[in-house]
């Protein structure tokens, strides 16, 4: 009766991550550093933080998921203009995640119109279809699926129009990137642009004018993106200062629609993970006053504290999503916090550390070292 993982290839991801960072060499270096530390040759330690995670995103099946009774479907309405441009309206909203790019690319793949001739419109409640919005990595799993499904409805109607224009039976044409082609006669075709014009301007028996479609998509399951993250941190035992030497993020979010958008999400999410793991805190004094009310005290890393990330991927499509895509926005936050935190913990593991507490600011790291008797 519980949730069922949709797909995953965890060992492949994990092995790739370990091989890429040179895990064995890092462990050897770490062992050497511990030895040097014990011999009094260095006051630095190094920690390797590993995190393999599986996410559950894309809420969700209406039978399981609702907000105040409203089922967690999402939606897409598409209108193809006679000129061959298109507008798609969705029930989600981008705050910078690149929906206009991602959804236009999904649609472009389904209906064969160039992505830059597709306008994505979100957030206007006068015109948008009902939707449950953007959070919890649900936009691509749910609204992205709705986009693909609505696109397929467009294509189905376009097939009838193309067959009529080409004077063949519906079953005698086949889709090829941006056109319907007569089977066995590739020189005879109608592009989606031709079809869009005809849909509005030519009387086609038995077919309503226009070329529009709506999909309200109720996902059959959540999607389960996963990843393998590795953080390598240098620790100054005497001051508690840390420096992220290396951060590797392998994400598998199923079918990758736009790699640059995915990587952008990962960079931002990992940086938030860095902040959470290494210093961010809303602390109160005994009188209930917030002690971290400024950006000097509330740790929001600058470009200087933030490391250069290495991103990587494997691609295990979701079996139930129309194009195999899973969510990704939330993944880096899920994977990076433990990776950073584990790296700090790991630095002291050789000295018997059993328990440590986030956020790992200088004072807390120093306290760990002090508690382990490393300050002599």
């Amino acid at each position: 009766m519980g949730w069922e993982y949709d797909s995953g290839d965890y060992h492949t991801a994990w092995d790739k991550a370990l091989a890429t960072v040179g895990y064995d060499a890092l462990r050897a270096e770490q062992a050497q550093m511990v030895e040097d530390f014990k011999a009094g040759k260095t006051r630095k330690l190094m920690g390797i933080g590993l995190c393999h995670f599986t996410e559950i995103v894309g809420a969700g099946p209406v039978k399981n998921c609702d907000i105040l009774g409203m089922g967690m479907f999402d939606s897409c309405e598409i209108r193809i203009h006679p000129t061959g441009s298109a507008i798609a309206r969705l029930g989600t909203i981008s705050q910078g995640q690149g929906h206009a790019t991602t959804f236009a690319q999904i649609l472009a793949s389904e209906i064969g119109l160039p992505a830059d001739s597709i306008t994505i419109e979100e957030g206007d409640t006068d015109t948008a279809p009902y939707g449950l919005g953007t959070y919890g990595s649900r936009s691509t799993p749910v609204a992205g699926a709705a986009t693909a499904m609505a696109g397929r409805k467009i294509r189905a109607k376009a097939q009838m129009i193309a067959a009529y224009l080409l004077e063949v039976h519906d079953d005698d044409v086949e889709w090829d990137v941006d056109r319907f082609v007569v089977k066995g006669a590739p020189e005879r075709f109608k592009t989606m642009k031709d079809i869009a014009f005809a849909a509005y301007n030519q009387a086609i028996p038995g077919v309503e004018p226009g070329l529009e479609a709506v999909s309200y998509y109720d996902p059959p399951n959540m999607t389960y993106p996963f990843g393998a993250y590795i953080a390598v941190t240098d620790i100054d035992v005497d001051t508690g200062e840390w420096s992220i030497r290396q951060f590797y993020a392998l994400d598998d979010c199923g079918t990758r629609i736009n790699p640059m958008v995915i990587e952008g999400q990962v960079h931002g999410g990992v940086t938030e993970g860095l902040a959470i793991a290494m210093g961010q805190e809303i602390a109160y004094d005994e009188m209930g006053n917030c002690k971290t009310g400024t950006l000097m005290d509330f740790f929001l890393p600058t470009a200087w504290e933030t490391p250069h990330y290495v991103t990587d991927f494997t691609e295990t499509p979701s079996p139930h999503h129309p194009i195999g895509a899973k969510g990704v926005g939330e993944s880096p936050n899920v994977g990076s916090v433990p990776a950073f935190s584990n790296a700090v913990h790991d630095a002291f593991r050789a000295f018997g550390l059993r328990q440590s507490h986030m956020p790992h600011d200088h004072a807390r790291i120093w306290k760990i070292a002090n508690g382990l008797g490393l300050h002599g």
Binding site: G269, T302, A303, T306
Partner: protein, 175 residues
Amino acid sequence: MAKQIITLTVNGETHEVAAEPRELLVYVLRERLRITGPHVGCETSHCGACTVDMNGKSVKSCTVLAAQADGAEITTIEGLGNPDGLHVLQEMFREHHGLQCGFCTPGMITRAHRLLQENPNPTEEEVRFGMAGNLCRCTGYQNIVKSILAAADQMNGNTSSSSEAVGHSNMEAAE
């Protein structure tokens, strides 16, 4: 405490504005001159969203009084480029996905512009140090740094991207 006439040359155009001395530069730009590129972010001179160029220096316009700016030459993002003719930094931020929500971007680009004026060929480390007065919560800075390095390359007449290596030493070279 009455209003006084403040003269500002913003993006090459001289404006005379009646403003109270206590008004902050960012408000004069946004509310009185309707130049809304500089954003009001933290209001405490940490985040850098309000960064403008004042007399050849990057400043946080939330912490500059209008009266202090009287007579100054100001450049905002609007003065660097526009939709019909993007500045190379804007072009590179678009090309390399150097922005997501876009809130920090005007300040980022305005600051990066001054950084590249002072150091036309920075390393990744120098860019990170030189951009440390501007916060971003979307990009993790990686593509911002990449965009700035790419812009530097373009401005220097190269087409390839700079080194990706980064370390945290030798920050003197960054200023």
